[in-house]
């Protein structure tokens, strides 16, 4: 047993940290908040050159064939630098379900282009009901000849407006349970009948309302089997939750580091405020919260990667913990910074707002705590 990074992961982390420090400065993060696309094509291309989009894509499809724990290590650095753009949507919500359920032809068609940074993807799952469970998927797809016709509204779809393709979950039939009768479609984002409307969010990230009006999708673009899409969504949600946790680990760590530094430098009453126990004890508690986030996330990532029997339990534990622990960390960060933390010019608010976003994505603490209880006792 070893809870730390292995040598290769250390290299990946150190490289990513140096790279992002240079290529993703605070100024870019702020620009992208105002930018309609929400990402820098230049940075996107450079990240692709590092092989990051293909990190977990098998080598035979142009990827690096690395593993989920490696992705977690990389995403931790993304959280540290608040990297804007559709990386998680493309890799986790787009490529991963294709890796899980795609036909050979689909894999050949999509994965190498994702790995090369040529294809931006996302998953259109949630709807105005704002539910993560299968009964939240109400959008209909009906078959017409060799095509499928999609009608309905998807909401909270990350970065949909800049994607080339979306994995869309729609209902193609009614089964005994809500999990049955859901089909996944690989939908060209420029198909006629699709409209994107950007949502204004707390994190100034780019989530969209996506409306489908008689959108026609060729039969060959069904991902996996008709009516059996939910298990793929489910598995993707697990990785997405791990990705969100990883991002939160880096975000919380960086918020903490900035705050610790501030506590050492800010002088009031003739001494650094970090010399007061009222501040010290908040920071000590934040250490525990950050450490807890990191190790439960590593364990969840590892369990998923190794297909451990309790992988789902670990993922839910991780998301339940990280959602709230990271919130406690950034709340301490704001409080310790005092007034300056509330200003737009100072950087700490960037972390505070994004924490809430990732807290909510892929199930908040209440949602996952309930899953933990169910897995434990029912």
């Amino acid at each position: 047993m070893d809870l730390g990074l292995d040598e290769q992961q250390e290299m990946l982390r150190n490289f990513a940290r140096d790279f992002l420090e240079k290529e993703c400065p605070e100024q870019l993060v702020r620009q992208m908040e105002e930018d309609e696309k929400g990402y820098s094509p230049d940075l996107w291309r450079k990240m692709a050159e590092q092989g990051w989009m293909g990190l977990i894509i098998p080598e035979q499809y142009g990827g690096a064939g690395m593993r989920i724990t490696d992705l977690a290590v990389l995403l931790e650095e993304f959280g540290r630098f608040l990297v804007p753009g559709p990386f998680i949507p493309t890799v986790v919500l787009g490529a991963y379900p294709i890796m899980l359920a795609g036909s050979e032809e689909q894999k050949q068609r999509f994965l190498p282009r994702v790995a090369a940074g040529e294809l931006i993807m996302t998953m259109a799952l949630t709807e105005p009901s704002a539910k993560w469970d299968a009964d939240g998927v109400q959008m209909e797809a009906r078959q017409e000849g060799n095509e499928w016709v999609l009608n309905g509204t998807k909401l909270f779809v990350q970065d949909a407006h800049v994607t080339d393709y979306m994995v869309v979950a729609a209902r193609t039939g009614k089964g005994a349970s809500p999990e049955e009768g859901i089909t996944l479609f690989l939908v060209d984002s420029r198909s006629p009948g699709i409209k994107f409307e950007l949502l204004r969010t707390i994190a100034s990230d780019k989530q969209c309302e996506v409306t489908f009006e008689n959108v026609r999708v060729p039969g060959e673009n069904v991902l996996g089997e008709v009516g059996k899409g939910w298990p793929v969504v489910h598995r993707t949600k697990l990785l997405a939750a791990v990705a969100a946790c990883s991002y939160l680990v880096g975000l919380a760590q960086q918020d903490f580091d900035i705050t610790l530094n501030y506590a050492k430098e800010r002088v009031q009453f003739g001494r650094p405020i970090g010399s007061f126990q009222a501040i010290q004890h908040k920071l000590a508690d934040a250490v525990i919260d950050v450490d807890g986030c990191r190790f439960i996330t590593y364990k969840a990532a590892w369990s998923l990667q190794e297909n451990e029997p309790d992988a789902e339990l670990m993922v839910s534990m991780a998301k339940a913990w990280c959602s709230e622990a990271s919130r406690r960390v950034v709340a301490h960060g704001q409080q310790i910074h005092g007034g300056i933390g509330f200003t737009k010019d100072y950087k700490i608010q960037l972390y505070f707002r994004r924490q809430k976003w990732m807290e909510l994505m892929w199930g908040d603490a209440d949602y996952h705590r309930e899953l933990v209880a169910q897995k434990l006792a029912i």
Binding site: M1, D2, L3, S275, I296
Partner: protein, 390 residues
């Protein structure tokens, strides 16, 4: 990154488990009356000794088994999970012995280590005083050199097991003029020495575990000084190369949570099944998540040690988190049990044998003992984060 124990470590876990199944009846706390429990504990220590498991973490040359750090963790985890009574051996095996191994003379090692390893003697720890709690270095008990002896006068408190112990590790002031950390020495004291009085200090659980110990002109032979004079503080706070993960708390809590899960699933209870109450599921879910965090924070300490690093504030993190988590678990359990939660063990209506009532009181002590939560936070802030003292 690898969360799996090696096959050898897993095999060792199985070995410890089957041994415990054989030597510790699952419901021993039911069978053994309060009056018999001390003798039971002593007998259990003898059985452990026969297996080499009083001091499995010690090097082989001193009678230990030289277990790896992960094996030590597994061992402690299993003992705590199975509620093995280890009170008889703890101070000797984990405090007195390791300190003697590092600082003791050959004579001291020969005299004490084998007897600790065989569970023939029991030790207590004379550190805290009425005015030296969190500020332990403020201790005032004096030891004055007089010929071949030191003459000790003063008072200790919170001395667990002093009424049973054969020997004590004692911190006493030998240089009152030096700065407070630099005038303390470490002694090995025979509890039968004239002038020592032990007075019970009953805790709020009605247990007699603590004592006050009074020293009145107690003559301690100079050969029972451990290490150098006036270096006692540093010896007592030295990092010893044994597992320091506080894993026991997490393992004991895991067992309790399992008990609680069994309870809420019990369909034979009168009224609605607790599990159907969303508030109950909230408590269970939260307890399980916190428990996993506690376990990982403990494992992290060992993981660092296994990489050859010396944990500092990470051990404080594990102690702080696991004790507070254990207290929250107790509160969650009591919330789930409702009115029944207040019933003590051996009450005919008690549920889960009154364990949560016990845990609630016990953990309220544990977030204080061994360095309060506030002291741990200070250590994390100052040692771990490099924050200024003033």
């Amino acid at each position: 990154m690898d969360f799996r124990l090696s096959p050898e470590e897993e095999a060792f876990r199985q070995e410890v488990r089957s041994w415990l199944r054989e030597h510790l009846p699952r419901d021993w706390e039911e069978q053994v009356s309060e009056g018999e429990s001390w003798e039971f504990t002593r007998q259990f220590a003898r059985k452990l000794a026969a297996r080499g498991w009083v001091v499995p973490h010690w090097p082989r040359e001193y009678g230990g088994l030289g277990l790896s750090l992960w094996q030590q963790l597994v061992f402690r985890e299993e003992m705590a999970y199975h509620r093995a009574p280890l009170g008889y051996i703890a101070i000797g095996a984990d405090w007195a012995g390791p300190t003697i191994i590092v600082y003791g003379t050959e004579e001291q090692k020969r005299e004490h280590l084998p007897r600790i390893a065989r569970a023939e003697v029991m030790w207590c720890q004379g550190f805290s005083e009425p005015n030296a709690g969190s500020d332990l270095a403020n201790l005032q008990t004096r030891a004055v050199r007089d010929g071949d002896d030191y003459v000790v006068n003063g008072q200790k408190i919170w001395t667990s097991g002093a009424h049973r112990a054969d020997w004590m590790i004692l911190l006493a002031r030998t240089d009152p003029d030096a700065p407070k950390h630099k005038g303390i020495s470490y002694f090995l004291v025979d509890m039968k020495t004239p002038g020592i009085t032990v007075q019970p200090l009953i805790d709020m659980m009605d247990n007699h575990s603590f004592n006050q110990v009074f020293f009145e002109n107690v003559r301690v032979p100079a050969r029972n000084l451990l290490g150098e004079e006036n270096r006692g503080w540093y010896m007592a706070t030295t990092t010893l190369n044994f597992e320091r993960s506080s894993i026991g708390g997490a393992a004991a809590a895991r067992r309790l949570l399992e008990d609680l899960v069994g309870y809420v699933r019990d369909a034979s209870l009168p009224g609605a099944r607790p599990l159907d109450d969303p508030r109950v599921r909230y408590q269970l879910g939260e307890a399980a998540v916190e428990l996993e965090i506690g376990r990982l924070l403990s494992y992290r300490v060992v993981s660092l040690q296994a990489r050859g690093l010396v944990p500092s504030h990470e051990a404080s993190v594990a102690k702080l988190y696991n004790t507070e988590m254990g207290l929250r678990l107790a509160r969650r359990g009591l919330a789930v049990l409702g009115l029944y939660g207040q019933l003590r063990p051996r009450s005919p209506w008690a549920r889960l044998r009154g364990r949560f009532e016990r845990q609630y009181l016990w953990m309220t002590g544990m977030v204080v003992g061994g360095g309060t939560s506030e002291i741990q936070r200070n250590l994390i802030a100052i040692r771990g984060l490099g924050l200024p003292r003033d």
